[in-house]
């Protein structure tokens, strides 16, 4: 966060300096970008973040390991349990805890449910940024069903605090599998509508194709991950590259697009939703209806001294956590690698030279969530 503004260039009177945010409706929270505008064209762009900063990393140093999990939830508040997983995996690695097969599959199901929920939110808000009101309401209704399923099992909707070391906190609700199956049927029907409203709309084509092109080399060097990286043609997905939980057991593809523009990022997210539905369908078959949901974890979590970096592929990309343990029951240092944090760095690359309206479309295609960026 900075109170800094752009200084006007001496002798230039055609550049207008505009503060976009932190209260701007299209910044998905509290991003502030100082823009130099020459008419509608952006000449300079300096992003400022930190308006939602809570210093989770410091708080987590003062908490015991189980207490950290609810705090990780509060980072990427759109994708719920996805945030808990890297931390849980890292500690399981350090402790050497065995996770039962069924627990891993339940975890993966929740992970993919939240990916669907998160992408639905993205779709609604992105279309709202482009000016269409209706898809926002549609996607939020559909997300409501997912959150209802999560609440029935985990007790909370957005911040469930559901994963724990060695498995999950409690067994799934008896209706869970049937409800997920119904949800998938429902979503498959709805996806046809969303294709009509988003991917096939000529207005969306006009606004996104060829806008905000991110080259493959630039994307890799900038540390961009997730759908944004895959839309630039790099098939890097943590689920395939460093498989975790039940991902080795299921079949899915990594959708990539060579274009790297805003439309490609939209398209990749759509295909990811189809892949999520596919993974969930397989897991519905694979997951035993009854069985253990939690492995044997020690009562007091005290990992041996050491360090571990674990990452998962959350809705926005590689969400990593770097835990250093000093052998006590509190972590010595927890460092979160936010996917949206890395993705947001490309704002100056993509904004400069674009039109102001394009900037809104580009920003919505990056899908930032400020709980995770500002931590």
């Amino acid at each position: 966060m900075s109170t800094m503004n752009l200084e006007p260039v001496p002798g230039r009177t055609d550049e207008m300096i505009v503060n976009m945010g932190p209260q701007h409706p299209a910044t998905h929270g509290v991003l502030r970008v100082v823009l130099g505008l020459e008419g509608e064209r952006i000449t300079r762009a300096v992003p400022h973040i930190g308006y939602l900063h809570r210093n989770h990393e410091k708080i987590e140093e003062a908490r015991t390991y189980p207490m950290v999990i609810p705090y990780t939830d509060r980072m990427d508040y759109v994708s719920g349990t996805q945030n808990e997983l890297p931390f849980v995996l890292a500690i399981e690695d350090m402790l050497g805890v065995e996770v039962p097969d069924r627990a891993r599959k339940i975890r993966t199901m929740f992970f993919e449910l939240f990916r669907l929920a998160s992408h639905l939110v993205w779709m609604g808000t992105a279309m709202l940024d482009l000016g269409a009101i209706s898809p926002f309401l549609y996607t939020f209704w559909d997300r409501e069903i997912i959150l209802g399923i999560v609440e029935k099992t985990a007790g909370a909707r957005m911040l469930p605090n559901y994963y724990t070391f060695g498995g999950v906190r409690r067994d799934v609700h008896p209706d869970f599998f049937k409800e997920v199956a119904d949800l998938l049927d429902h979503l498959e029907r709805r996806m046809v509508d969303y294709e009509h409203l988003v991917l096939e709309s000529p207005v969306v084509h006009a606004r996104t194709i060829g806008v905000g092109v991110l080259s493959k080399e630039r994307a890799i060097a900038r540390g961009v991950s997730g759908p944004v990286l895959r839309a630039s043609g790099v098939a890097y997905d943590v689920r395939k590259a460093f498989p975790y939980d039940a991902y080795p057991d299921v079949e899915f593809e990594i959708p990539t697009s060579p274009d790297g523009d805003t439309y490609a990022r939209f398209w990749v997210r759509f295909q990811e939703m189809y892949q999520s539905i596919r993974i969930l369908r397989q897991l519905l078959e694979l997951t035993p209806k009854t069985g253990p949901f939690k492995g044997k974890a020690p009562a007091r979590i005290k990992p041996p001294a050491g360090e571990r970096y674990r990452a998962v592929e959350n809705s926005r990309g590689e969400l990593g956590v770097f835990v250093i343990s000093d052998g006590t029951d509190k972590p010595y240092r927890v460092k979160h690698r936010g996917a949206a944090f890395s993705n947001l760095q490309i704002i100056p690359d993509l904004f400069i030279g674009a039109k102001f309206s394009d900037a809104i479309a580009i920003l919505s295609s990056l899908d930032p969530v400020f709980g995770e960026i500002d931590r």
Binding site: E40, A132, I133, V203, S357, I360
Partner: protein
């Protein structure tokens, strides 16, 4: 360890005119809309038939009496546009609610029917704030300019045969002149606000106007060439046998697109683009100044579809069931036809608003200059040629 007691009234208090939302009562909503349309229709009849009849009976239909009669008609038209705005805002909110699987306003009045009146009262009660950086005179003037420019279009709109305030023979020229004026209001309001977003919105409005105004004028010209008159009543009369949208299909499509742009309506709502410019040119307006921008927007949302009906869908024409043309009953029926045809077009505009995202401003300009103007010229030539050989 004392505990502050929980206030008893923390639970929900039932609203005025409480509406039991569990009971789905679509007939009630339809009744509300019908009531509004009926009031609108009555006002139209009063304005165009009642007032002249009254003044004729009193013998005041010449000289100062005529001026006074026109003034009274204008006042009634203002009332009419207020009813129109109430109705259209309600319909917009209810329709958007319906397509978005929600209910829209439903707590005040039957089926939320008087919600808009409460909103208007709220706007009246709000402080009319003028920012420190604003140019006060221009800032105050801009909403009035916008509203008056939209409202002035009523002068030449024929609601039924002979039911028009000024049946001038240069109606089309007047329309072009007046519709351009409303952009002045937007421009002045945006520039004088002292706000960068408002400035960008105003500049976009200006740029947009430059692009759509020319095809719009060319379409007007095409209609004039085809009908052989510049008077709006004459245009309606000329399509007694065949509504213009069939022979003038291409200008008709262009006119719909251009009027979407003129309305600053959803695929082309760049000046106010709430997700880009927050609210664009009216971001600094509050209270009644904002209400006037709003009123102007909804009056235009009626008038531009009304012009589509006048130009392409036979205006007031419809089966008269043997009523004598020119009588009060025939006029009332004709104005009802006109209102209903317009309502269909308003609905189509709202439907577009519910569906489409927004284009980029330069795309509209590109489209207008590279596609719409050539096509409009082509349509003009085609219409002239067709008129030469067929009429």
């Amino acid at each position: 360890m004392s505990q502050i007691p929980i206030p008893e009234d923390r639970h929900f208090r039932p609203r005025l005119f409480g509406y039991d939302p569990q009971k789905s009562r679509p007939w009630l909503e339809r009744a509300v809309y019908s009531a509004y349309v009926f009031v609108f229709w009555l006002l139209v009849i009063t304005t165009y038939a009642g007032v002249p009849a009254l003044f004729g009976a009193l013998g005041w239909d010449s000289g100062w009496g005529f001026v006074f009669m026109r003034a009274l008609q204008v006042v009634l038209l203002f009332l009419l546009s207020a009813v129109l705005a109430l109705l259209l805002i309600l319909v917009l909110r209810k329709y958007l609610g319906k397509v978005q699987e929600r209910f829209g306003p439903m707590h005040y009045g039957p089926a939320g029917g008087i919600q808009t009146i409460f909103d208007a009262l709220k706007l009246l009660a709000k402080e009319d704030f003028v920012p420190a950086a604003a140019d006060v005179l221009t800032f105050r003037l801009a909403p009035a300019v916008t509203f008056v420019a939209s409202f002035a279009m009523f002068a030449v709109i024929p609601f039924a045969s002979g039911w028009v305030l000024a049946d001038t023979n240069v109606g089309l020229v007047y329309l072009i002149a007046v519709s351009t004026l409303s952009t002045y209001g937007v421009l002045l309001g945006g520039v004088s606000s002292g706000n960068k977003w408002a400035l960008i919105g105003a500049l976009r409005a200006g740029a947009q106007m430059v692009s759509y105004e020319i095809p719009l004028a060319l379409v007007f010209l095409t209609v004039a060439v085809w009908s052989g008159t510049l008077s709006l009543s004459g245009i309606v009369d000329a399509q007694l046998g065949l509504w213009n949208f069939l022979p003038l299909a291409l200008p008709f499509v262009l006119y719909v697109i251009a009027s979407l742009a003129e309305l600053k309506h959803i695929p082309f709502d760049f000046p106010e683009a709430e997700s880009e410019l927050i609210a664009g040119y009216n971001v600094e307006y509050s209270g009644m100044s904002f209400a006037f921008f709003f009123l102007a927007e909804f009056v235009e949302l009626f008038l531009l579809p009304a012009l589509i009906v006048v130009f392409f869908f036979g205006g007031w024409h419809g089966p008269l069931f043997g009523l004598e043309p020119g009588s009060l009953a025939a006029g009332a029926l004709e104005s009802l036809y006109f209102t209903l045809k317009t309502a269909v077009w308003v609905w189509i505009f709202l439907w577009i608003r519910a569906t489409l995202p927004r284009y980029r401003d330069d795309q509209l300009m590109e489209f207008a200059w590279k596609a719409m103007i050539p096509l409009a010229l082509f349509g003009l030539v085609l219409a002239a040629y067709m008129r030469l050989i067929w009429r």
